[in-house]
Amino acid sequence: MAKIELNDVSLTFTLSQERRVTFKEYLIRGLFLPSRNPKVAVHALANINLTANDGDRIGIIGHNGAGKSTMLKLLAGIYPPTSGTKTVEGKICSLFDISLGFEHEANGWDNIMYRAYLQGETPRSLKAKLQDIADFTELGSFLNVPVRYYSSGMLVRLAFSIATAAEPEVLLIDEVLSVGDMAFQNKARQRMKEMMSSARLMVMVSHDLESIRSLCTRAIWLQQGTIMMAGDPDEVVDAYTESVAPKISRHPAGLVTDDPDQAEPVEPAEIVERAA
């Protein structure tokens, strides 16, 4: 059984406002002097509650900087929550960065292994899949060549084949689909669908509202780190589209476009000063 449960989860990043903390400050800070380079707490996620179970396909939408990717990374375990509890059950597979973990001096076969181990495969489970992965790349003897010599398209093929070979229980996807040439794209889309349907639980972030509508059973609209709206994907997407539709009053920057991505007034995450 796969399950995600976020209970009043908040995530706060602490950043230096102006520049990197200097070495001198690093040593002195907290010992003698108050820093003149105040720390800023950025509330990337605030009081998120979310329960998801087997069969859920959750789409996350929202402006840039709304906390979508942060939320996925939180679920993946990359960021531990600052407060609240997070429960994730099930083997997690995260597709955030398609070319993650490539070692450019090593050949294709080795890279399949590095990447697969990063995704939590074991020698036994990988053995069964290795040939499948290799076949799917269609790279043939190029797999014996260091990845350094690959074209970017070939890299994408390799990466995608490995990434989608996992059999995750919890699948986390961050905008990865626009890969390779036409022929491969069709194949990739097919594979992606298979993977999504085999996963017990999926959370995806996308700006492609249509795929959210068609693939997801639930949608969440994030804004400034909080959940604006959650529920049926059609309703949420409609509400979101409505909110970003050209209305001068809503856009301090005066941007007027139809594309929700472009129309973004890039709202900064809430910034709260605090003493360093």
Binding site: M1, A2, K3, N7, D8, F13, T14, V21, F23, A46, N47, N49, L50, T51, A52, N53, D54, G55, D56, K73, A76, G77, I78, Y79, P80, P81, T82, S83, G84, T85, K86, T87, V88, E89, G90, K91, S94, F96, D97, L100, G101, E103, E105, A106, M113, Y114, Y117, L118, Q119, G120, P123, E169, R200, R218, I220, T226, I227, M228, M229, A230
Partner: protein, 323 residues
């Protein structure tokens, strides 16, 4: 954070678990309640099956110790990170793994010519070359391991920010890869033995123990620096040139024990490498073991490792956004 395969019953992991009531309490009274919508769609099968095993993770304390359970589950990854480090290291070089021999060999030459001959340190030591070699080899291992481990987090920034695995694996893998180089370097020592017509004694059995302690110390110093470098890049430079200073402050590498005065002998074991190197040499080429030095150095090595671990855990929490 903890990830579990489904079906594996979990205990609540040893971190602060939040009291249930408290959470609910916060929920109902929280001023931002409006935005914190609880999504609980009526769901098919899963929700109602008694009390399913759960893992609850809250912001964890700085003093939390390593999650051994998790490390065990990811062990294959550790093995492969190590293999990767070994394979990649000399990939684009012509001499390849011969570098693992060149490095200690050239250090030995410098010591023998400049310290031994010109500095006269070789007087009264039989086979000064072998003497230095038995000190330089483990030192090279230590120094390489610490430098590689120290840079391992910033060097693998993308892995750290894009995927989750136990972060200690990165420095661990570096220590493992350096140990591999050390094994290659040991062939030099074997060669030295053959040339000198010497035989090994049973004291050799102590060598693996000393090396194990050396690896633990290297890991400890390595994770301390790995975390320090993430917090402050300046420590990168401190590390590189600090290791050189450290080498010269470990006089047992190039100086025989009778040339070190009693006061120095009393205090030097606080340098964790000192006692280990001293006894490694005794195990290899014979001589008396200095058990006091071994004990003190081990203790100080462990102290450094605990400090390193504590600081590493502290930095690890915010690693992905501060790196």
């Amino acid at each position: 954070m903890v990830r579990e395969s489904a079906g594996v019953p979990l205990a609540v992991h040893g971190r602060d678990t939040v009291d249930n009531d408290q959470v609910h309490d916060q929920e109902s009274t929280h001023p931002r309640q409006k935005s914190a919508i609880v999504i609980a769609l009526p769901d098919s099968d899963a929700s109602s099956c008694g009390s399913p095993p759960t893992t609850r993770i809250v912001a964890r304390s700085h003093w939390g110790f390593a999650d051994l359970h998790e490390i065990w589950r990811y062990r294959e990854l550790l093995y492969f990170l190590t293999a990767r480090d070994i394979k990649i290291r000399y990939k684009q070089t012509i001499l390849g793994s011969a570098w693992a021999i060149m490095q200690p060999l050239s250090a030995v030459l410098v010591f023998v010519i400049f310290f031994g001959r010109l500095g006269g340190l070789a007087d009264g030591v039989d086979n000064y070359t072998l003497f230095v070699l038995a000190g330089v080899l483990p030192w090279t291992f230590f120094s390489n391991a610490v430098i590689a481990a120290g840079n391992s987090l910033v060097g693998n920034e993308r892995l750290v920010t894009k995927t989750y695995f136990p972060r200690v694996f990165l420095p661990m893998a570096c220590v493992g890869a350096s140990a591999f180089d050390f094994l290659i370097g040991l062939s030099l020592l074997a060669l030295g033995f053959v040339l000198a017509g010497m035989m090994v004694s049973s004291s050799l059995l102590l060598a693996p123990l000393v090396l194990g302690l050396l690896a633990i110390t290297a890991f400890g110093v390595g994770i301390l620096f790995a975390a320090l470098i993430v917090a402050q890049r300046d420590f990168r430079h401190v590390l590189t040139f600090g290791m050189q200073l450290w080498m010269f402050s470990t006089p047992c590498i190039y100086l025989s024990a009778d040339k070190i005065g009693p006061t120095a002998q009393a205090w030097l074991p606080l340098n964790p490498v000192y006692g280990l190197l001293l006894n490694f040499r005794a195990a290899i080429i014979g001589g008396t073991f200095d058990l006091r030095a071994l004990g003190l150095s081990t203790l100080s090595g462990l102290a450094i490792m605990l400090t390193g671990f504590w600081y590493f855990r502290r930095v690890e929490r915010t690693l992905a956004d501060t790196i």
